[in-house]
């Protein structure tokens, strides 16, 4: 027996092949962790959908009714009657899309200037811009509110208190976007731009015909992030918007909750409706969504 052991240890071991595991289960042990986790992650959503199709008396039972006798769709029209969710959507969509457009255009222009053009004050201004990234929104919130109030009184009510313009304007340019695009533009080969300029193209021509077409991944990532940020924003709309006709989805949903605190079936129907568009986008573009968050997350 001892001879055999010696022989075995002296044999060259083959490390290229992973050692075969003894398996007690017909599947990987990780499923024991992941399956319950999947349940925990999805259950709040499933329970929301189930409650949204229950009768109020089914929701107000203890122990809870896990599967209702029949599907009660009526909660959805009832929720729509109780609050103008369509209006909220339209407002959120207008605000978010305008914010995305503003950032794409203005951050591209500024990002390009800081990446390629040598102009007086560029360094100091860029450092000032970066410094604003350190400041939490709550610090600038009160003066921003007073500025918006002043703008509404002296410039135009369309950008004053209780307007969609007031939701758009402060987010129209995000320093994060300028920074991200500047970093991206600097990675592009400068020779292409020089060649175009020798051929007589202007700075703007170079930006629009050469730089931006090469930057589509960065631009689409920025668009996705700005849309998410704007769609989910809550504190600024809460302090600026005063009437229901200007509420965004998040704000409308919060007020809806406040007005129907114990009407759980109605609340869940409203919540499902408010989530549907984002969930739809998520399922259609999960890969792209995930990549956007992953890449900018680490660079941001």
């Amino acid at each position: 027996v001892s001879e055999q052991v010696i022989v075995r240890t002296e044999e060259p071991r083959r490390f290229q092949q992973p050692p075969t595991k003894r398996r007690r289960l017909p599947f990987s042990n990780w499923h024991l962790l992941l399956f319950p986790l999947m349940f925990v992650m999805l259950f709040p959503l499933i329970w929301m959908v189930i409650t949204s199709i229950e009768l109020p008396r089914e929701a107000h039972q203890f122990p809870p009714v896990l599967i209702p006798d029949h599907v009660h769709w009526q909660n959805y029209p009832d929720a729509l009657k109780a609050a103008p969710f369509g209006r909220f959507f339209l407002n959120s969509l207008v605000v978010s899309l305008t914010v995305v457009a503003g950032n794409l255009v203005l951050c591209s222009l500024a990002g390009y200037a800081f990446a390629r053009v040598r102009f007086v004050g560029a360094e100091i201004v860029f450092i000032l811009l970066l410094a604003t990234l350190m400041v939490p929104f709550q610090v600038t919130m009160v003066p921003a509110f007073l500025i918006v109030k002043w703008l509404g009184l002296h410039v135009s009510p369309a950008i004053g208190i209780d307007s969609l313009g007031a939701l758009i304007l402060p987010s129209f340019v995000q320093v994060f976007g300028i920074f991200m695009l500047r970093q991206f533009f600097r990675t592009l080969p400068v020779e292409l731009e020089e060649a175009a300029r020798i051929d007589g193209a202007s700075r703007l021509g170079v930006l629009f015909k050469i730089v931006l077409p090469l930057s589509l991944p960065a631009l689409s990532t920025l668009a996705a992030l700005m849309f998410l940020f704007s769609w989910n924003d809550f504190l600024w709309p809460l302090i600026v918007i005063q009437t229901q006709q200007h509420q965004t989805v998040q704000l409308g949903l919060a007020y809806f909750q406040g007005a129907h605190v114990t009407e759980w079936t109605l609340l869940m129907a409203g919540n499902v409706m408010s989530l549907l568009p984002m969930l739809l986008v998520f399922f259609l573009a999960q890969r792209y969504f995930v990549r956007s968050v992953a890449t900018t997350g680490l660079k941001g």
Binding site: F15, L37, L42, P44, V135, Q286
Partner: protein, 313 residues
């Protein structure tokens, strides 16, 4: 310098013929007209308000009338002597010190799990990433319903395990922890994505080398994987801390800082003072306390990170 490069630069810098061309070709003008609109908006809504809020914190201002009275350090003095503000700081720190480590450990563990080539891994990932599409307000409403003291499902589950009904968000002892749980759930997708991206950047050769050295899976993780995740961990710790210190929407929706101020956090406090009691000076002072706190904590985390985290070139 190559010969053709010199020619190119010469062409670019060729003397403009007219005065008009000199102005339009001027890099200063081009630079400022490109960056100007963005810089103007940032100056208007971030840089100028930053200094204004510092001034505001030494003033009395009710948001309604334009006049503001200089009061010196009175607002900061009021904060220091307001037991609710000190409680708000304590609640914010308790929340942060639970939310950040739980998210990091949980996110890392789950990311390692879904980084394997096992069956249904795509389903698992989708189930975790789905929280990215769900807003804080929606999450808060869902958890309000799950933890409802009378009809909530969580009490039913506890009942099955022989635990009596809990008050959750209506309890001064439990409310803050329910909010922690809600946010760990809501942020799991984000932490897992960041860790997963970092895990997939770990070179396969290192794992092979560790296997040749006969390292166990645990020591491979501890000595190879985890150190290489250093930059991702540092980023997440700082990012999650900054967000945790700014906790607001969840509290606003579920408890309004209650019961009995048990979930009053700094941002809820300053929102309440500014926009519900119209004491903008006090609100600005609280915001500056928050700002210095965030800055200090981030710098400490960065400093520790500099010493512990190794960046591969």
């Amino acid at each position: 310098m190559r010969a053709d490069e010199g020619v190119r630069l010469e062409a670019l810098n060729a003397a403009p013929r007219s005065r008009w061309q000199r102005i339009t070709r001027s890099e200063h003008l081009v630079g400022w007209s490109l960056a100007g609109p963005a810089v103007f908006l940032v100056a208007l809504f971030a840089i100028f308000p930053f200094f204004w809020s510092l001034v505001l914190s030494f003033q009395e201002n009710n948001l309604l009338s334009p006049k503001a009275k200089w009061v010196g350090w009175a607002n900061y003095d009021k904060l220091a002597h307001d037991p609710i503000f000190t409680a708000a700081i304590r609640h914010t720190l308790i929340y942060t010190s639970l939310f950040v480590p739980l998210s990091i450990v949980g996110g890392l563990f789950v990311a390692v799990a879904v980084n394997r080539k096992i069956h249904f891994v795509a389903f698992y990932r989708t189930a975790i990433f789905i929280t990215l599409a769900i807003s804080t307000i929606s999450t808060a409403i869902m958890f309000l319903w799950l933890t409802d003291p009378t009809f909530g499902l969580v009490n039913e589950v506890l009942h099955v395990f022989g635990i009596g009904p809990q008050q959750f968000l209506s309890s001064t002892k439990e409310a803050l922890y329910v909010i922690v749980a809600m946010d760990v759930w809501g942020w799991l997708g984000f932490t897992v994505i960041i860790y997963l991206a970092a895990l997939q950047g770990v070179p396969q050769e290192l794992y092979e080398a560790a296997a040749i050295d006969g390292a166990s899976p645990w020591s491979t993780f501890r000595r190879v994987t985890f150190p290489l995740l250093g930059p991702a961990t540092l980023f997440l710790v700082i990012w999650l801390t900054i967000n945790a210190l700014q906790l607001f929407a969840e509290v606003y929706l579920t408890t309004r800082g209650g019961p009995l101020f048990a979930t009053t956090v700094i941002v809820y406090y300053l929102f309440h003072k500014t926009f519900e009691q119209f004491d903008a000076g006090l609100g600005a002072a609280a915001a500056w306390v928050l700002f210095t706190g965030i800055l200090a904590l981030s710098l400490v985390e960065l400093w520790i990170g500099r010493r512990k985290v190794h960046y591969s070139s």
